[in-house]
């Protein structure tokens, strides 16, 4: 809150100016006044988009006051078009810079410290799209939805734009001065009162900086807290091996996989290459075989959805279940390892164990990040017993610079604060005030014991609010930095653009603690790597840094540095493989007591779209439907249909016109209560409640801030405690009698016996010979392709292309990355919760989810189905448009002419796939300048009143055609990669020329599993699907 001194900001500024200009009592002219830094800062605050000011009542008043003052000064601003300094016309363009042609730069995004390598597209210096870096092990060309959506965060006008002290704007120099004073004080006590709190750090440079500071201040401490981090994984490794290790799984080598509450397909470090590898083992067309995935889990996840066998277990049952499997696999668990009664699942476990044992050395047991150390240790032991170590399970040095159990680290910090030992707390990134567990909450009460609090973050958030100094952080696309991938490979993060809002990087902040306090992050990162890369041609990580210290940093280094920047990876930095053996006493932990079936259990999870809350102000992610519930803009307490019935809870689906009204309940857990809407989730174990973290932010920005009038979810951190961060028993659920409105993009998850997603078991599929198969797949679909008219001759039109797409449902893991990629590529707007409630979301590509099976409590799937425009040969949308606004091209695409559209919406009514999206209102933000920088210049920004839909990324098609025509050839297969295809980690989407029999898409379409959606309508879609295959264990008769 602004202090009293803010009463007249203008007067204050004047005072400050006068104070700094010693000797001068009055400024003689307005020009003189305008020369001061304070005034420049004042101006900077005046004119940029100070929208966030409007949200804070006091801020708004201040803003109005300042506006008034600036209006008075407005006469001063001159009207020159060019700056007075010499500027150089763009006569000779920089090398490689052709106006209109994008450039790509390698960089990386980190999430919980783990990097995903990216290639950022830059149009005239503006990053406009992110693609995966094929050379990066954490990407292999794919990205997840977080990486795709991070572009929006870069341009978010709500990002923090000013450095503030107690919410008063201050210059960086003043911060430095203030900091130096405080540090001088600390220096005397060797930094005994100095604490750093970071998120997970994998950045070698940052780690080196921290070490340097800790050397200078030996009594200072570095704590790490990550709300959705991998602390338990480290603890598990500690338990099993007595040392931290990083585990890497090779899913491409695995024939049998057991996932113990692990969502390795979407939400762990390395999930992109894991998904690639996993799906690589399911390509039955080539190998005539498939891997088999067993998933044991509480909250239904994408991994459970793809599993051949999914077993839903309450969290308290999982450890004992794991013990039972371990026992069945012959793991020696010592004294505590009494063979656990597998109970109701005995047959399941026995069949599973037989199957895993049959695939020795080619199986994986992967425990979830949220599971207890014991489960992790058991999994390590099982992998050991199965001979997987070194084959499908690789142990390496940890990738974190300092692997700690983040809860423990936080507990120490809180202990120090409570004991009054902390005088200066530097929070580098993260939002601990919001994300810390309820019993270790870093709230104002606790933090007021710390004399000086500094917070670096992208947003002025809950933490900034109660810190003295808030320093705006530079986005990773504005920063120099480095980070490690899941396997330890380092990427140098290079900026694509100057900081839009004068943000500082963590490196620059930490540099302020050293003697060279004003170093730029470029210098810091480069200097660090100069030290690392020096004379030798090979870099092996900073751990060996001492021995490879450079002696000849000049020529060699420059070359290597440039290559590392260009490639997006620093060669040979993958973490070294480690040989570890199980500790003798690893199994000494007593088994957990048997669960009491009567009590409700609670599960906490990072949110699938806004993660731990850091993406709360990202509209793309807020509006991205959660993979299984299809909810947007909210989290909910997930309960099974049976539990809901037992508790008398209702979901009213659509009874009030497109809206979903659900009962709101009070979740009471360890005497803390939150009010949450309930979502009935098929596949959730009975007697459990899952809540997702990250919502209920009180200070996130215009999109993410949750208020009483306009709630954006509820804050699950409020009931999360440090001793049970992921699950616990004894939650109570009380009906409140109130209802809550949720916004979901899909409300009906039953296929109603329509052949929408087709599935088949591998055995059946292989049994059928090719000829028989086609018949079997289509026996009930008569040949509808008869027409009175001859088919259009695409071979002899124009350049003879016929574009088509094949979507392999067997590959789709429902990760949603394609939706955000499409949104980013095609300038698709965010519409907001209220519009989603009215079924007006604008996503051109959606991923449908359908549950199968008869039991709603324990269904199959859901099966995922990405649905873009089908580009039908006989498109029903075309003949009904009265103005020719949607027409067929000679290459077979169904094109939308925005300029011609008058908006009758008849096309959408007649579209059986309902893939058309209408601009009911002006959804595009036409005014925010940063969004104008963000948009893809190749794609029209649609106005209100027009229909739009998937174009097959026609801009990419045109680009490839132009390139090919320049070279006098036709477009080669693979030249055109649609945005959804590019981002997909499992190559579920393939696009190409179906006239070319050799193209990948044509081959897929000729395959046995190919089918058209709603084939019997004779729309003859260009987008076709490949049926999904499942590989159930014949020994487990029912999908359990």
């Amino acid at each position: 809150m602004p202090s009293k001194e803010s009463q007249t900001n203008f007067a204050l500024m004047r005072e400050r100016i006068l104070a700094t200009q010693d000797g001068k009592e009055y400024w003689r002219s307005l020009e003189e006044l305008a020369d001061t830094d304070e005034f420049q800062e004042f101006l900077a605050r005046e004119y940029p988009q100070q929208a966030e000011e409007w949200h804070d009542a006091v801020g708004r008043r201040t803003f109005l006051k300042l506006m008034g003052a600036s209006l008075a000064l407005a006469g001063l601003s001159n009207c020159t078009y060019q700056p007075p300094e010499l500027i150089v016309p763009y006569v000779r363009q920089p090398e490689a810079e052709v106006p209109g042609k994008p450039l790509y730069f390698a960089t990386a995004m980190t999430l919980s410290g783990v990097a995903t390598g990216l290639l950022a597209k830059s149009n005239e210096g503006r990053p406009t799209k992110l693609e995966g870096n094929p050379d990066h092990p954490g990407s292999r060309g794919a990205t997840d939805h977080f990486a795709q959506a991070s572009l929006l965060t870069l341009y978010d006008p709500d990002r923090s734009q000013t450095l503030t002290f107690r919410e008063e704007i201050r210059p960086w120099t003043e911060f430095l001065a203030n900091l130096r004073t405080a540090l001088d004080e600390q220096r005397g006590k060797q930094g005994a009162g100095l604490r750093f709190l970071t998120e997970t750090v994998t950045s070698p440079t940052l780690a080196a900086q921290l070490k340097e500071i800790l050397t200078a201040f030996p009594q200072a401490k570095w704590h790490q807290y990550e709300p959705a981090g991998r602390g338990l994984v480290n603890a598990g490794a500690q338990l099993a091996f007595g040392q931290p290790v990083n585990t890497i799984y090779r899913f491409d080598q695995a024939r049998r996989i057991l996932a113990i509450d692990s969502d390795f397909l979407s939400c762990v470090a390395g999930s992109l290459p894991y998904a690639t590898g996993f799906i690589g083992g399911r390509r039955a067309d080539e190998s005539r075989d498939m891997n088999r995935l067993y998933a044991v889990e509480t909250t239904p996840t994408n991994t459970g959805a793809k599993a051949d066998h999914r077993l839903r277990l309450r969290p308290s049952e999982i450890e004992n279940f794991t013990r039972a499997v371990a026992a069945a696999l012959g793991v020696n668990m010592g004294s505590a390892g009494q063979a656990q009664a597998a109970g109701a699942h005995a047959n399941w476990v026995a069949a599973l164990a037989r199957d895993l044992l049959a695939a020795r050395g080619a199986s994986i047991v992967i425990p979830g990040d949220e599971q207890s150390p014991v489960v992790h240790a058991l999994a390590h032991a099982m992998n050991d017993a199965l001979g997987n170590v070194g084959k499908t399970v690789i142990y390496t040095e940890p990738i974190e610079a300092n692997p700690v159990d983040s809860i423990q680290s936080l507990r120490e910090l809180v202990g120090d604060i409570d004991a009054g030992r902390v005088e200066m707390l530097v929070i580098v990134g993260g939002n601990p005030v919001y994300t810390t567990p309820a019993d270790l909450k870093l709230d104002l009460n606790r933090l007021s014991k710390v004399k000086l609090r500094v917070h670096l973050s992208l947003y002025k958030d809950e933490t900034s609010e109660i810190c003295h100094w808030h320093i705006p952080e530079a986005h990773y696309l504005e920063s120099w930095s480095d980070a490690r991938a899941y396997d330890g490979t380092v990427t140098i993060i290079q900026p694509l653009i100057e900081p839009l809002y004068n943000g500082k990087t963590a490196h620059e902040l930490l540099a302020a603690f050293s003697d060279q306090f004003d170093r730029k992050s470029y210098q810091i990162v480069r200097d660090y790597w100069m030290g690392q890369m020096g004379g030798k041609g090979v870099v092996s990580g900073e751990r060996q840094a001492g021995s490879t210290q450079a002696s000849n940093p000049s020529g060699d280094f420059e070359e290597r540095w440039r290559k590392a920047l260009h490639d997006g990876v620093v060669p040979n930095t993958a973490a070294a493989t480690k040989t570890v053996s199980l500790k003798a006493d690893w199994a000494s932990q007593p088994p957990v007591p048997a669960p009491q079936p009567s009590t409700l259990e609670i599960v906490f999870r990072a949110d699938p779209t806004i993660y731990d809350g850091r993406f709360a102000n990202n509209g793309w992610l807020q509006e991205l439907p959660k993979p299984l519930t299809k909810l947007t803009w909210d989290n909910a307490a997930l309960v099974s249909p049976k539990t809901a019935r037992d508790l008398g809870i209702n979901n009213e689906m659509g009874s009030k016109g497109g809206n979903i009204f659900v009962d709101a309940v009070d979740l009471k857990y360890r005497d803390r209560v939150v009010r949450a809407p309930v979502w009935i989730m098929p596949g959730q174990p009975d007697g459990t409640v899952t809540v997702h973290l990250g919502y209920g932010r009180t200070r996130a920005g215009r999109a993410g801030t949750s208020t009483a009038a306009k709630p954006i979810g509820f804050n699950a951190y409020a009931i999360r405690t440090s001793d049970a961060p992921w699950f616990g028993t004894g939650v109570e659920l009380h009906k409140t009698g109130t209802q809550y409105q949720l916004a979901a993009t899909q409300t009906h998850f039953n296929m109603e016996n329509r052949k929408v997603v087709r599935t088949k078991s591998l055995v059946d599929y292989l049994k059928e010979s090719e000829g028989e198969h086609r018949e079997a797949m289509e026996h009930d679909e008569p040949g509808y392709n008869d027409s009175m008219y001859p088919p259009y001759d695409y071979k002899n039109q124009g350049l003879g292309y016929a574009w088509g797409m094949a979507i392999d449902l067997n590959n789709c893991v429902g990760c949603n990355a394609c939706i955000v990629a499409c949104q980013s590529e095609n300038n698709i707007p965010v519409v907001g919760k209220e519009q989603v409630i009215r079924s007006r979301e604008m996503h051109w590509l959606r991923v449908d989810a359908y549950f199968g099976g008869a039991d709603a409590n324990n269904p199959e799937g859901p099966y995922f189905q990405p649905v873009p425009c089908m580009h039908c040969e006989q498109a029903p949308c075309e003949p009904v448009c009265p103005v020719h606004a949607t027409v067929h091209s000679t290459e077979g695409t169904n094109d939308m002419v925005y300029n011609r559209c008058v908006g009758t919406r008849y096309c959408s009514n007649n579209c059986p796939y309902k893939v058309r999206r209408f601009n009911f209102l002006l959804y595009q933000d036409w005014t925010t300048p940063t969004y104008q920088l963000m948009r893809n210049p190749e794609v029209t920004v649609r106005s209100r009143g027009v229909m739009e839909k998937c174009t097959y990324c026609i801009q990419r098609i045109q680009l490839a055609k132009i390139e090919s025509e320049k070279e006098g050839r036709s477009v080669r297969d693979g030249d055109i990669v649609t945005a959804c295809q590019a981002v997909c980690p499992t190559q579920a989407i393939v696009f190409g020329n179906i006239n070319d029999q050799e193209s990948q898409v044509a081959k897929l379409k000729a395959g046995k599993r190919n089918y058209s959606l709603l084939e019997d309508l004779n729309t003859q879609p260009r987008t076709t699907y490949l049926a999904e295959l499942r590989n159930p264990n014949p020994e487990i008769p029912e999908r359990a």
């Binding site: 659509g654 009874s655 009030k656 016109g657 497109g658 809206n659 899909q746 409300t747 009906h748 998850f749 039953n750 296929m751 109603e752 016996n753 329509r754 929408v756 519009q835 009215r838 079924s839 007006r840 959606r846 449908d848 989810a849 359908y850 189905q865 649905v867 029903p876 003949p879 009904v880 448009c881 009265p882 103005v883 020719h884 011609r900 559209c901 008058v902 908006g903 009758t904 919406r905 008849y906 959408s908 009514n909 007649n910 059986p912 796939y913 309902k914 058309r916 999206r917 209408f918 601009n919 009911f920 209102l921 002006l922 209100r944 009143g945 027009v946 229909m947 959606l1013 709603l1014 309508l1017």
Partner: protein, 463 residues
């Protein structure tokens, strides 16, 4: 005129309920009808009614302004329910507009002379209903300022409209219908406007009516040409009665959506339109004849005839409903059959049952003679049928769209306050125009009424 042997019942009815109450003369007919506009003081009720409808017109104007400035997102329309209130209301108004042409043209050609006393305001009703209807397709577009692109006009873009689209056909059908109806109505008014001109006392009225009468002097040549023109226009209008709603039904029938894609739509829509139109004529004429003392001219015979037409068309419509359900089942098409079950039992099921009650069951009461003789009963039935016809369009448009082929895209529709204000606003516009018409133009054709007097018949025979 010559009458052939009529069935006993009709004869009976003739005796009890003539087309015009005996005792009137040429002069008394002219006096009585023209006095409504020229002599009588405007009743207080008129002012109240006009004021209310005028306020509703302001609501309409406000809605339209807000709509054009903000976008059609102010309505509840969404994806999958891409058409909703505007199209429902459009079809409803167009349907109402059908009775006018039917009465003026087809009944004229069939020489149903009883039509004479109701055709004028039925035609006016048609015009106003079409005006209200016309607003919706224009304003329901995303960019109404470009809706003129639906017209085939020479343009620099070198693009024709898309002639395969039923919306295109709609443009022609509705604009033709509006033009012909307006002409027909105006041509029919000319002799009466001349009467008003001659009888008006104030100078402004004399001038205005004089201009509108286009120099009508009642000469034999005028009459000759008039009769020819009127007959031609009647001939022209006749196919329109069938075509307009047929084409409106094509908007649905051409689409491949279950619940829309049905060959039964054209006849069933036309019958529905006539049904709705007569309900509206009854709804208007019953209070009109009461408040303006026109029981002499709009007699029980008219009311009963219209009730019978309503019953007949209502039966066709009900048959349509049954056939829709039957074919949904008989087709063996899973989508069709699901659509029907969803229509009947789904979340909008209560609309369907209300529709069956309003349109299917209620008119069956008209089989009963006592009800046919009861003006309040007929009035209530006409209101119920009007509501029922609106429900019918709601059921067709919304329940078909909201759950179509892919369950993932199923949605729900809920109108917003702006949907209602637009609809109620057009009702206001309709009544506002109706009130103005009642006040300033002869609501019953004077000269045609005179031709059905016995005097006219005698004269004809002697000549």
């Amino acid at each position: 005129m010559h009458r052939v042997d009529e069935p006993h019942d009709d004869l009976q009815m003739h005796l009890t309920a003539p087309v015009i109450t005996p005792g009137h003369t040429f002069a008394s007919v002219t006096d009585k009808i023209s006095a409504l506009t020229l002599r009588r003081r405007t009743p207080l009720g008129w002012y109240i009614g006009f004021a209310i409808s005028f306020i509703l017109v302001q609501v309409l104007l406000f809605t339209i302004t807000y709509l054009v400035m903000t976008g059609i997102g102010i309505w509840g329309t969404n994806i999958p329910v891409g058409w909703a209130f505007p199209i429902i209301n459009f079809v409803w108004w167009i349907g109402i507009g059908h009775a006018g042409t039917l009465i003026s043209a087809i009944l004229l050609l069939l020489r149903q002379e009883w039509r004479t006393s109701i055709n004028r305001f039925a035609e006016a009703m048609t015009l106003f209903a079409v005006a209200c209807a016309g607003l919706f397709p224009l304003l329901h577009t995303g960019r109404p300022w470009l809706a003129y692109w639906l017209f085939p006009y020479p343009n620099t873009m070198g693009i024709w409209p898309q002639f395969r689209s039923p919306l295109m056909w709609d443009v022609f059908a509705v604009s033709t219908y509006a033009t012909v109806s307006a002409l027909f109505w105006f041509v029919g008014l000319i002799p009466d406007l001349a009467t008003l001109r001659d009888r008006a006392r104030s100078r402004p009225f004399q001038i205005i009516y004089g201009l509108l009468a286009m120099g009508w002097r009642g000469s034999a040549r005028h009459w000759h040409r008039y009769e020819t023109a009127y007959l031609l226009l009647a001939g022209l209008s006749t196919p329109l009665v069938l075509s307009v709603h047929t084409i409106v039904s094509f908007d649905f029938a051409v689409a491949q959506l279950p619940g829309w894609h049905a060959t039964i739509f054209p006849p069933y829509f036309v019958a529905g339109a006539i049904y709705a139109g007569f309900a509206m004529v009854l709804f208007l004429s019953i209070p009109l004849r009461k408040f303006y003392g026109l029981e002499d001219f709009i007699t029980m015979r008219h009311i009963k005839n219209m009730a019978k037409i309503m019953l007949a068309t209502g039966l066709i419509v009900f048959y349509g409903y049954m056939m829709e359900a039957f074919f949904a089942w008989y087709s063996g098409n899973e989508y069709e059959w699901f659509m029907m079950r969803n229509r009947v039992l789904g979340p909008y099921g209560h609309y369907y049952w209300a529709l069956i009650f309003c349109n299917g069951l209620t008119p069956q009461l008209l089989w009963i003679k006592r009800i046919r003789n009861s003006i309040p009963a007929i009035f209530i039935i006409s209101v119920i049928v009007s509501i029922g016809m609106w429900l019918e369009r709601f059921v067709i448009v919304v329940t078909s769209l909201h759950r179509d082929f892919l369950p993932s895209s199923w949605g729900m529709y809920q109108p917003t306050i702006w949907d209602w204000s637009m609809f109620i606003g057009t009702i206001g516009l309709f009544f506002c125009l109706m009130f103005l018409f009642i006040r300033f133009l002869p609501i019953i054709s004077i000269f045609e009424m005179r031709t059905i007097l016995p005097e006219a018949e005698v004269e004809e025979e002697t000549v």
